[in-house]
Structure formats: C-alpha cells, structure tokens
C-alpha cells in the first residue's frame, strides 16, 4: 500500500501547489506567465534555503512536478556544481540541472510543430 500512499501524498501536495496558483490568478494581478516565473524563482529560493527538500522527501512528484520543483532542481544543481567546481559552478550548475527538461520540451515542441497541424480557431 506504500504505492498508493505515495500517490495520495503526491496528489495532495501537488494539488495544493496548483490551488495556490489558481488563487493567485483569480485574486491578484499576476498573469499565468508571471505565475510560472514566480514559481520557478520561489523554487530556487525554497530549494536553496533547504525548505523544499522535506516537501520533496514527503511528496515526491507532488513537489518535483510543479514548477517550484524545477526551481528547487536548479538550486540543487548550482549548489552541487559550486561544491565540485567552485566559481565555475555558479555559471554551469543551473543550466545543467535544467538541461533534461528544457531539451525535452524544445525537441518535443519542434517534433509536434512538424507532425501536427495548428488548430484553426
């Protein structure tokens, strides 16, 4: 049953992070694009300060799949790179950590643009 517990924890934490985003859209002047930017930057701050790791340990994908998790991944990447390479790591760590996600989105986006027809509205 550990499997279902993990799913439920991911559902609750991931759902809560999205509900906060919806509240920000509905009740503040933040546009969706600004919410995405804010979530990633907040993720870097939360990840860097060590606040986000317990949430990742508890909820797994519930914390890593929302964009705050992407930010926390950037923070971890840069921290590891600085620990290994010093000042060079300040410049290489973030992009290295983001590489898989960004490359996947860009490559699949290009493939989709070739394969699918734009929806006419």
């Amino acid at each position: 049953m550990a499997f279902f517990q993990a799913l439920i924890k991911a559902f609750l934490v991931g759902g809560a992070l999205c509900a906060v985003g919806q509240a920000l859209i509905d009740y503040t002047k933040l546009t969706p694009a600004r919410i995405l930017v804010s979530y990633v930057v907040a993720g870097v701050a939360l990840g860097g300060s060590g606040v986000y790791q317990p949430l990742l340990d508890f909820a797994g994908a519930g914390a890593s799949v929302p964009l705050t998790g992407f930010g926390a991944l950037l923070a971890r990447g840069v921290r590891q790179a600085v620990a290994e390479h010093g000042l060079t790591g300040v410049f290489s760590g973030g992009l290295t950590a983001a590489a898989a996600g960004v490359t996947a989105a860009v490559v699949f986006g290009l493939i989709a643009a070739v394969v699918f027809k734009p929806k006419s509205k």
Partner: protein
C-alpha cells in the same frame, strides 16, 4: 485586470484559456484536482522507474521527460487546451504546463516559418521562465560560493 487578455501573438493558447476564465468558486477545487492528478501520475511513473532500478535522480528526470512528452502529444492533439480550460492553474503549474507553453506556440506559429515562427515563438513563455530561473540560480550559487569559499 481579470478581464485582461494577453495579445494573441504574445501568449500561448493555454495561457489565454487560463487567464480568460471567469472567476468562480469552482476554479480552485478544479485546479487542485487537475494539478493533483498530474502530480499523482508523475508519482506513479516515479515509483515505476524506481522499481525498474533507476536512481532517484534519474527517475525524477525521466518523470519530467515522460510528462513533457505526454503534454506535447496532448497539446498537438488539442486535448491539453481542454484540460487547461477545466483545470486552470492545475494544468499550468505542473511541468506539463511548461511543456504546453513551449509546444503550443511552436505549433501555432509554424505558418510564420520553422525558424522565426516555431523556433522563436516556442520560447515566448519558456524564455522568461528559464531566464529568471537561471538568474535566481546564479544569485543563489554566487552566495553559496561566497559562504563556502
């Protein structure tokens, strides 16, 4: 401001859908349900990859890549738009929303060419996210370097 509609040539379709939705009490529960479902699916994949012997880091990366691929497919089929209309931030905040923000304009602006249409517009939303994410990581990294020199 809730009536603010982004310029069509500036924003991906899903983002328009999310900001154009009317305010209503259902929005937040729907975002919770849709976002929770995406994350639960991600967790299911993560458990699968872990049980297949991947390290936690690799499993996490593969979860992202899998969800991004699924989002690209659903965006191409036009299904992700519908999910975003129902789920709002529940479809925006997960990594699938980031992927949708890349794939949707890549597709939409293809008539303007593969280079300046697709190639440039696919970063319309992802560009700022990557730019500020990297800037934040640079600042954090620099502080971490100063403190641990």
């Amino acid at each position: 401001m809730e009536k603010h509609m982004p310029k069509p040539d500036e924003y991906a379709r899903m983002v328009k859908a999310a900001s154009g939705r009317s305010k209503g009490w259902k929005n937040i529960p729907l975002a919770f349900l849709v976002g929770g479902a995406v994350c639960a699916a991600g967790e299911g994949l993560r458990q699968l990859y872990l049980s297949a012997g991947l390290s936690p880091d690799w499993a996490g990366a593969m979860v992202s890549v899998s969800l991004i691929a699924a989002s690209a497919l659903l965006t191409g089929l036009g299904v992700y738009d519908d999910i975003a209309k129902a789920g709002g931030a529940g479809a925006l905040v997960p990594i699938t929303g980031f992927a949708n923000a890349v794939v949707s304009p890549a597709l939409e602006f293809r008539p303007e060419g593969m280079v300046l249409g697709t190639g440039s517009r696919l970063f319309a939303i992802a560009g700022p996210v990557i730019a500020y994410g990297l800037a934040a990581s640079w600042i954090y990294g620099f502080i971490f370097w100063l403190l641990n020199r």
